[in-house]
């Protein structure tokens, strides 16, 4: 990701799937995006993670050419402002849940997408739907919220797109289907030719899915890193109350109490520095997210 040293420098020469420089968008006095920069390389699954109102959706809408902004932005080498029509041949997205119109029949939805999208594989969509309780003759208005999402996902996953953008795709789905969806996404859909950008609240559930994470808060990028580098960059140390002050001398960026002990988060420390003080491990993305977000708000 962003100017990280890489083993294979040729990767950087490939056209980035998304390249954002100084993305800014203000609603009145409030800045939803304040100079956001990040790069998404092709063949990655990137989690865009942030609290409500952090600017995630605004960033996604800018990427999809659905909102105006200032700054530089190239998506699949195209400008989403002026080349949106061409861009939509390569990009597919779910911008929001429950946006399928109530009057649409399931069979009509299939027919419509087949009619307008040259890269839609109807039989694949039918295959996805067969695993659900959705009937071809049903109207969207008759389906439950979860079923509408299932239908939308079945349509989108059957499109052979280069970049897939998903904003909270599993909102309102039960755990079983969420698992099933992420399995499908990873096993059947994802390959090295595709890029997936995903936002979600349920970070714990998709930790293993991401290759990269971008934390965003108050319109700023708080963290932008490949997941495999998180281990060498961040350390979570759990120490007893007595050891806490010694550990604090090494400047954790966040700490919180756990059953009388203190969990501290460090950036750029080594196991040699921290190991002797307490229990050391690599923080989970969810813990790291909380730590990073708390620090920004403090």
């Amino acid at each position: 990701m962003k100017a990280q040293p890489r083993a294979h420098t040729w990767v950087k020469k490939m056209t980035a799937a998304i390249e954002a420089r100084g993305l800014t968008k203000a609603f009145g006095a409030q800045r939803a995006l304040d100079g956001v920069s990040f790069t998404v390389q092709p063949g990655r699954i990137v989690g865009l993670i942030g609290p409500n109102g952090a600017g995630k959706t605004t960033a996604l809408k800018a990427i999809l050419g659905l909102t105006s902004f200032t700054g530089e932005l190239r998506v699949m080498g195209l400008d989403p402002r002026s080349q949106r029509d061409a861009l939509m041949r390569d990009v597919c997205f779910i911008a929001d849940v429950a946006v399928l119109p109530r009057w649409l029949k399931v069979s009509q939805a299939l027919e419509f997408v087949a009619g307008v999208h040259p890269r839609f594989d109807r039989s694949a969509a039918v295959g996805f739907l067969r695993k659900t309780d959705i009937h071809m003759s049903s109207r969207v208005g008759q389906l439950s919220k979860g079923m509408v999402t299932q239908l939308h996902l079945a349509l989108i996953l059957a499109i052979d797109a280069r970049l897939l953008v998903l904003d909270e795709p599993t909102l309102g789905l039960d755990l079983l289907y969420r698992r099933q969806f992420y399995d499908t996404l990873l096993n059947d859909y994802f390959d090295k030719q595709r890029t997936i950008l995903l936002t979600t609240h349920q970070v714990e559930e998709v930790e293993n899915l991401f290759t990269d994470v971008v934390f965003i808060n108050h319109g700023h990028v708080a963290l932008d890193s490949p997941v495999e580098e998180l281990g060498s960059r961040f350390q979570q140390l759990t120490v007893s109350a007595e050891q806490a002050d010694r550990a604090r001398a090494l400047k954790p960026f966040y700490e919180h109490q756990v059953f009388g002990r203190v969990a501290m988060f460090f950036e750029g420390r080594t196991a040699a520095e921290l190991g002797a003080l307490g229990e050391l491990r690599t923080p989970s993305i969810a813990d790291l997210f909380v730590a990073k977000m708390q620090r920004v708000t403090q």
Partner: protein, 331 residues
Amino acid sequence: MSTNMSTPASTAGLTVPASSVAAGGLQQTLVTLVRREFWEHRALWIAPLATAVLLLVCALFAHGGHFQIEGNEVGDQPFSARQALALSTIAQAVVFMALNLVAVVMVSFYLVDCLYAERRDRSIYFWKSLPVSDGLTVASKLLVAMLVVPLGVWALAAVTHVALSVVFAAHSALGQLPAHLVAWNTLIWLRVEFLLLLGLILGALWNAPISGYFLLVSVLARRNAVMWAIGIPPLGLLLERLVFGTHYLYTFIGYRLNGIWDILANHGDLNFITGQAADGNSHFNVPPLDVLLGELHFRAAFLAPDLWLGVIAAAVMVYGAARIRRYRDDT
């Protein structure tokens, strides 16, 4: 198209050239977009169809009813074949006008609703996730309103009139209708159909600015699109009246509604009308409708500069609607 496509995984390595996507795809896309409109706005085809069926049902059970013209029972009059034919062509035009009136009402509501509803139910995010440009989307809606529905109604009216003629012939054969009232002439029927079609095209072109205005309201309205569409003209009239004390807008709207029909009828100076007026006693002596319609000044109407100025104004409004749909930001 979709049937011969392989799975996403196997095509992943291949890039489909943009040109091959566009070729042949545009027509298919447009057809799909137009079909979509009839899925959503079912009233567009159900209402005219129901009206046609209603007319036919009425005709089926119309036996025992009495046709009266100028106070006399039609059946009692010595009726020439020519007059019977005139009656048939009048029925032909009346059926067309009835269905057309229903369609115009439906199409008006449709135009006001089509770009507003997709924002109201947020389905615009779904439509916009597919490779269909805003221009093509708006064009498909205009195509439905100005071409598909009018032509469909014209064809439906033709079929309905044929069916009505068959019903009347059957009534006559069963003795429920005087035989000399029933007449048919295919050539004249075709001529009337052709003239009605010309009138239909003329009307669609003349009313194009109204269609454009409806689309513009539809794309702009935050709520109550129908109220805005209906409310703006009277509001404008009232404002002009109060502020300037004039009524230019009233004259203008009146002209934009009726002007072309005035030109078509040569400002009332048509032979059959003036002829009748000179004659003084108007009794039922109308020739078959194709003769009357044939007197209309279609050439002058189609060449009227105001017709084409209106079309240009409509094009500007439709282009504006497409641009607003593209760049509108409701976040």
